[in-house]
């Protein structure tokens, strides 16, 4: 099981094993990067943040108690750092709807053609969700986190996780409807 293997690595990192740190980095850096990038929307900032996340892991490995999986622990650190970075950039509001991210296809034949591809349109709407909704959707669908794990990473009750996911999906359906895709839900 990878979670057990991760705990072994954290134990080694706690003793200053640099190689274990490299293994953990190789295992998780892409995933942590993508999680952070989806929140901050800036590759350069995201790269800086993952260095900080893994440096925190190096520093705090000795205090890791194994109450959650290592990946959940790291995503929680990553989220905290991403939100702190966003607070330093007031133009990127945490709950701001990024409606502008969805371009108007009417003026662009390329986009109009792409619109025929429902999958592409769905991805475009996923990109346009608010940061709060993006993170819960990503954690559930891409990072394969359970209700309990999302609650721990985001710092909200489990029922709120389910409610937030519901509203994220509802918002997605509304955005699709505005683009001409009627899903018959909600």
């Amino acid at each position: 099981m990878q979670s057990k293997s991760d705990e072994v690595l954290i134990g080694r990192i706690a003793t200053g094993d640099r190689l274990a740190m490299q293994v953990l980095y190789a295992r998780y850096h892409v995933r942590v990067f993508r999680f952070v990038l989806r929140l901050v929307r800036d590759e350069s900032v995201a790269e800086d943040l993952i260095s900080e996340v893994f440096l925190d892991v190096w520093r705090q490995a000795g205090r890791f108690e194994g109450r959650s999986t290592v990946s959940t622990w790291m995503l929680a650190i990553a989220r905290f750092k991403a939100l702190s970075a966003l607070r330093r950039r007031p133009d990127e509001g945490l709950d701001q709807e990024v409606a502008g991210a969805i371009e108007d296809p009417a003026d662009d034949p390329g986009i109009a053609l792409e619109k025929k591809d429902k999958g592409a349109l769905l991805r475009k709407c996923l990109t346009g969700l608010s940061a709060e909704h993006r993170e819960v959707v990503d954690l559930v669908y891409y990072h394969e986190k359970s209700v309990e794990e999302v609650a721990e990473i985001v710092g909200i009750p489990e029922n709120t996780v389910k409610t937030r996911m519901f509203y994220a999906r509802k918002r997605l359906a509304e955005m699709l409807k505005a683009e001409g895709i009627e899903r018959g839900w909600p």
């Binding site: 099981m1 990878q2 979670s3 293997s5 991760d6 072994v8 690595l9 003793t15 200053g16 094993d17 640099r18 740190m21 490299q22 293994v23 980095y25 295992r27 998780y28 850096h29 892409v30 995933r31 990067f33 993508r34 990038l37 989806r38 590759e43 995201a46 790269e47 800086d48 993952i50 260095s51 893994f54 440096l55 190096w58 520093r59 999986t69 990946s71 429902k118 999958g119 769905l122 991805r123 996923l126 959707v137 990503d138 559930v140 669908y141 891409y142 990072h143 394969e144 986190k145 359970s146 209700v147 389910k162 409610t163 519901f166 999906r169 997605l172 359906a173 899903r183 018959g184 839900w185």
Partner: protein
């Protein structure tokens, strides 16, 4: 098929659909959802919408790329600086522990058998490909190419939790596909497969992907990958 009579229960089940699609529910909850889906046509339709969202969320994230080497260099420079200031005690591990850790790196975060089976399959296939290349080329230089080829048409696949090694082998054989890399993601479920040694037309790749998507007993997710 009948709708679930109790609306609150239906609402509760519906709220679990995203986690059911991602395979992260407990066995008990997964069974509840499965029973509800079998009895409720509308709920099953909504589950299809959830699966669409899951597919496109994975697709979207997989196109985000990866950080440059700068991030790692920055991290280890910071670690070196910290170690220079206050070094930590080190300890060595015996060979058994190192082998154990090496092997555990091939296994998934969860107990999903499919990922384990795929990990075994990829090792076996890599060995076969390696032996063929060595034989054909007469040099030992080929194996690294065999394990990470760049020519041809590719897809990313996540095998269904119930898929066995035999299922996966038969599936790959039926499509003349080869497991070439994986797991790609940290969760340990995504694998890269080669559909063809040559670059196929996009519509042909799309046709193969659609056929693969219909094999839900073996495949949970599949998408073309450049």
């Amino acid at each position: 098929m009948n709708m679930i009579n109790k609306e609150p229960e239906r609402h509760e089940i519906e709220a679990l659909l995203p986690w059911h699609a991602a395979g992260t529910l407990s066995r008990r909850d997964a069974d509840r959802v499965e029973r509800a889906l079998a009895d409720d046509r509308e709920l099953a339709r909504r589950y299809d919408l959830v699966r669409e969202e899951l597919t496109e969320t994975i697709h979207l994230n997989e196109t985000l790329g990866a950080p440059s080497a700068r991030a790692m260099e920055k991290l280890f420079a910071a670690i070196d600086a910290e170690e220079a200031r206050s070094p930590r005690r080190r300890r060595s591990l015996d060979l058994g522990s190192r082998i154990s850790e090496f092997l555990s790196s091939f296994t998934p975060r969860t107990l999903a058998w499919s990922a384990t089976a795929a990990a075994v399959a990829i090792l076996l296939q890599a060995a076969v490909i390696t032996s063929i290349l060595v034989k054909e080329q007469g040099t030992p230089g080929g194996p690294s190419l065999a394990s990470a080829p760049s020519e041809g048409s590719f897809a990313v696949v996540r095998f269904a939790p119930q898929a066995t090694a035999t299922d996966i082998t038969n599936f790959l054989g039926a499509y003349k596909a080869t497991l070439v890399e994986g797991p790609l993601n940290v969760g340990g479920h995504l694998y890269r497969i080669r559909l063809s040694d040559t670059k196929l037309p996009q519509d042909e790749v799309g046709k193969i992907i659609r056929q693969m998507q219909s094999e839900s007993k073996v495949v949970g997710f599949v998408a073309a990958k450049d």
